[in-house]
Point group: D2
Chain length 426, copies 4
């Protein structure tokens, strides 16, 4: 078998100089150079369709033309780039437009916190605040939840390999069964309530319940709206803060800006990152119900919480949400994906496939060990970027840019089907 | 007294929409628009000299022309922006240049990890790795150290207000006295060794000792080179990993690229962020001795660890380090600052001032409660941005861009002297 | 309403000098003087039937004549009283007889540890050892389990009031649902296995699973033998140590010496205390499968682990177990209790009663809030000592000495029925 | 070399049936049968002088005649043995006499808690209460402190071997340097205060400071009265509870009933166990200033907290304290020990000996590795029981019963001198 660098001598740089921790480069062994919308090109000018979208950070595709234009203009005019949490015009403009375009039309009132520009930062800030507001320590999370890699976020993340990496015990958290974790007939909220009601259960009243409505890393497990509504009721009954981690599922991925909109719930805290800047540049927000905005100034901080280049593209990205059209398109394209995947599962029973997900956040869980990884590798060979998820990497994940056109989508489908065939015959 | 928004009606946006956690906007109550090198301008076109440098993230000033040019070109050509830890040309170029310009000439051999683009991320990755390598849990940090706001980094940070914000107990860490913490005559390494040698001390053998050579947030406390050398010896004697958190003190702030160069030590892990991208855009590195690069693929990760816009400017920024000139200039300007501050202290004994710091990382600790804050507020009025540090905000901090010209430096000095006078007479 | 001391002026001593933490004296407000077998007498010479048996520490009744005789002889001869873990003849004799009478006939091979003379001490030692043997930290316990009040034991105890008393967070433990916790139709082992099998569940592989086969404090919840067998299988499958906390349920309380005998399981570690000394004097044992006896000398210790007066009576107590007779008697008397309780429940439907327990470890869970406490208070008035258990004190507990004669048992029943009647009519 | 069981075939029982955790039997390889005052006899009728006193649990010697008589009478009359925390006449009598004989004459007002009958139990209860009273989590302890082996007590114990045995991380505690830990010229209270005063020190305001005035296990380190007074002042200044763990140093060991009497301090909580029962039977007390007695009923409990046999002998033991005579005798005998040890050190410079301790709590720290253990082994051969302490077992400890007569004391001295000689010449 060839080594990666025999395939592409440029990769030698990474092998020699970069840490062993690097991951995706092992699945996609090439050196990328350019990208535009749903396409990527490597050093050999080979083109790839992107069904990965930066793990959800590129919902508007690569280097969106309008955002790029705005960004270049801002740079040219020496707009301020870095400002910590000082006031800047770029930030004021973003705040105003976010309020007008996203919050107000949805009847949501949130104070906006800039917690540092990564998903794990918004989660850590949400945990701190929930603990401060309630005076409690415990946070309830769910099986197969993924919330980040710093110690606080990791303590509420399910994956044992990631958890083990902490090197210390991860405390102040309890994992409860996610929707359908115990089969389709068991309502796991009953289970949660049993523990909360019983003063002898060993599970204390938590500061917060945190969840993703669709578990992206955990295997595209979708929480039912009724289940979400019941979780919200549990929170209200026991004065527990409800935190929705919308880092991956938010910003339109499931069809609506916030993933929880169709459930009709109003979380107390919402975590946003990944696609919020629109351009793949680092940015994160923590949205807080005004009555819970009990921070002291500077109680949580971070050097890059004022990344104005991201604010500029983020503001531009919000224009997608000015009408219903964008949302409707996502849903429509999501159904195309669903049709394709459903067809695939019935056509190739050897996949032992189960279609999962919502909106443009979909995939197939394969019942054969190692198969999803194989399909992704075959797809890469054929010019498609796609990743796996789930505790055993058993799900291959169709997660294109929300802006993808149907032609490219169909090209992608064709490559996937070929890859499935190739994987099953080898 | 006027409210902030009466002073500047634009600030209303932040008061209404942004979380109470916002901090610097309270010290610098205006809305910034543009910035170039060492100058910033607000919405009213008022100009400010920047002696703050983005808390160390803007060592090369705002919107450096050459970096800007490179960045705009990259954007125009649709260079890939976001890539997680896939291979990209921008990353390969950075890695190569970093190795050639920084590591090799200093005789350092490190594997480079991209841990997510913030200071706290590199620290969290360093802690994880040290624990993995040694199989131990404890990490020894120092009084008044600052390492970040996520749970792992916070556990080794000294500030009680920040620590309390965690809302949970912070464990697996012990704070030892920093250099000169117990007075000039006490070598605190003796103290540390006493605890390590004695199997009954209650302090276990740690995985790592982590420190900043100059404590930026902690009050500009400078570790002596001899002390640093002894700390390294302690680490070697007990097989403890030495982690230097060079997030604020690194990238030239103290006069050399790494703050520890003059001490002649070779840390096992180095944490870099803030000015590594050169342009104020989020980026961080964890440098690891090859023998300790024991990560499994993906054991630590993060969405924005492949922020190519930052790699592009970071590569450009490294050109500053191709000769000795840049370093010599920093040292020379640092001496100007030192002269000025020393003069100030002797001219205004009411300051009860003590000059602190190294390179362009300097300031005065004022023996009068609240005085440093007052001086900064007066300076802001007069068009100078400067912040305080130290457990009681007792130090005002002169931290201009390393690229500042002498004229601007002197203008800044003049404003500071006026501000000192005004503060002492009110 | 009268204060306690108006009822009995002697109680003033306790109110004035003893801490507010005192508990049982509030339920049984008198001063006891003498006790013999199943009877107790107070300062006013009022006699009480004892259906409490020192919370399980007096399985052989008060001041058993043969043990008393042996003890007085030992004292008279200046037998050594206190010996830490030095060798003594009293200990050698106990070890030999325990092996011959208890372990060998049951086909059990255990090394015997003397961990300090209380229940919480044996549990703490078991947790330490399981963690040492496996190199893992987590311990799985069960809802409504009770294991003791020191920090390690408390971390695996369910009761929220007790847990809260710790004043710090209780870590390294996860509470799983006990048998029938989710209703009679749900096998909670499925639930436990789901978490163990799934590497994304957030629950790590534990060092040990610890449980009581009958939860004495938790409300007399009895684990089914099939459930216990499945738990043992889970332990074997995942190399988890099985710890049975037989502190309250052991020493014959459920009908056999060990409570787990009828389930046919062989725990890796067994915790014994309470009635092991036979005389109500402090003593505890930790039984360890020889292959797991990996302690270093003195790795766990305690001043009173060599309490020879307890060894003397403990040895005498073992004579009860030389034939099957004693066990058969317990079972027979247990059925009498069961008959009585079942009758009570059907005769007094207002109790909303559910009979619980096994052997002479039985009681009624009352569906009416506060009723069980009331019945116990009425019983005390009428000369019967009986306590409640369960998360809301909803169970009154019939737990007489195993040696009680049928006449006294029936007198007790009569008092209980009167007390039930009085409680329901008030 | 002979195995232990070749020396004494009776020891086989322990090797076969008892856990490897057994410790003292390895230093004193024989089987003891009888004991009286300061003498012990083994199965071979060999007599031993006891300079160990049950590690401080036998301050009144073995099987004191008056206590024995009282105890046998109580047993004969069927006085109640086991009562949890119900009221009993034996307990009332003890409480009254303890108040009259100990507390009142010393001007101390404490509520008395019975926390379970071991040292670690009283310490765990003290920690819980201090945390409850202050709402803080951290407890400050000292280097080489020993407080017990359950998880809470272990977290404030210094010994790394014992700590490691926990198998989990030990949190919520910080070890500060004990008196003279950094040499005779450094007042370690300065160090402690520096950390408390500095809000950036990384050490939070603690709930309590806990210490032994003489560290028995830690190597007979004696805290100076001035140092103790300063510690008390620190506690008052910062509203920190002062807990004196007098489990080993209390009950007269240092010359006064409480070890802290000569320092003139009034701790907020005092932990007593070991010799409080007087007879080597398990008992412990937690003394609490009335204003801090904020327990809810049953918030801390334990089966054997009502061990009336111990109350009976404990009451008898208090008669020793009715006059000053007993205390004066201890001091006088302590000086004899001191004279002997001082002489030994100067006569045998090869010992590199340093005399340590106070009252009848004394010993010699040997500067030669392994020597103290050797001397103890030689002494055992010659019929004297004596143990080592200190982080490296470098101290041999003279800790006879307080009631020892001068003749026996001198016989012991003679054996020690012979043992020293033998150890030095081998």
């Amino acid at each position: 078998m060839q080594t990666i660098t025999e395939l592409d001598p440029q990769l030698k740089v990474f092998e020699e100089l970069e840490s062993e921790v690097r991951g995706y480069i092992r699945s996609f062994p090439t050196t990328f150079v350019k990208a535009k919308d749903s396409m990527m090109w490597d050093v050999n000018d080979k083109a790839y369709i992107d069904f990965f979208a930066g793990a959800g950070a590129l919902n508007y595709g690569h280097n969106n033309s309008k955002m790029k234009e705005t960004l270049i203009r801002y740079l040219s005019e020496d707009g301020i780039t870095h400002s910590l949490d000082m006031g800047t015009k770029a930030k004021a403009t973003f705040l105003t437009k976010f309020n007008e375009t996203i919050l107000k039309p949805r009847g949501l009132e949130y104070k906006v916190m800039f917690p540092g520009p990564t998903g794990t930062n918004t989660v850590e800030s949400a945990l701190k605040l929930a603990r401060k507001v309630t005076g409690r320590e415990l946070v309830i999370s769910f099986t197969n939840g993924f919330h980040g890699m710093t110690l606080g976020s990791l303590s509420i993340t399910g994956n044992s390999f990631k958890r083990h990496g902490a090197g210390v015990s991860l405390n102040h958290s309890v994992a409860m069964p996610f929707d359908k974790y115990l089969g389709k007939d068991v309502d796991t909220v009953d289970y949660l309530e049993r523990f909360l009601e019983d003063s002898g259960s060993g599970v204390a009243l938590p500061a917060a319940i945190i969840l993703e409505t669709v578990q992206g890393e955990g295997g595209l497990n979708v929480a039912n709206n009724v289940w979400l509504k019941r979780i919200e009721e549990v929170c209200r009954r026991w004065d527990i803060l409800l935190i929705i981690d919308d880092v991956q599922a938010g910003c339109g991925r499931t069809g609506t800006f916030f993933s929880f909109e169709t459930a009709g719930i109003k979380p107390d805290i919402v975590c946003l990152s990944k696609s919020i800047s629109g351009y793949g540049t680092p940015m994160a927000l923590t949205l807080i119900k005004p009555e819970y905005d009990l921070w002291a100034p500077g109680e949580h901080n971070g050097t890059f919480r004022g990344h104005n280049l991201a604010f500029i593209t983020a503001t531009e990205a919000l224009t997608f949400w000015e009408t219903e059209k964008f949302s409707e398109d996502i849903v429509a394209k999501g159904l195309l994906v669903d049709d394709f995947l459903t067809g695939l599962v019935s056509k190739y029973p050897e996949l032992k496939g189960e279609v999962r997900g919502k909106g443009l956040f979909r995939g197939i869980a394969c019942g054969v060990k190692g198969l999803a990884d194989k399909i992704c590798a075959e797809a890469f060979e054929r010019g498609l970027i796609m990743e796996t998820s789930g505790p055993n990497s058993e799900v291959f994940k169709i997660m294109p840019a929300l802006t993808i056109d149907c032609k490219t989508l169909n090209q992608g489908f064709a490559i996937i089907e070929e890859s499935v065939k190739a994987s099953l015959t080898n």
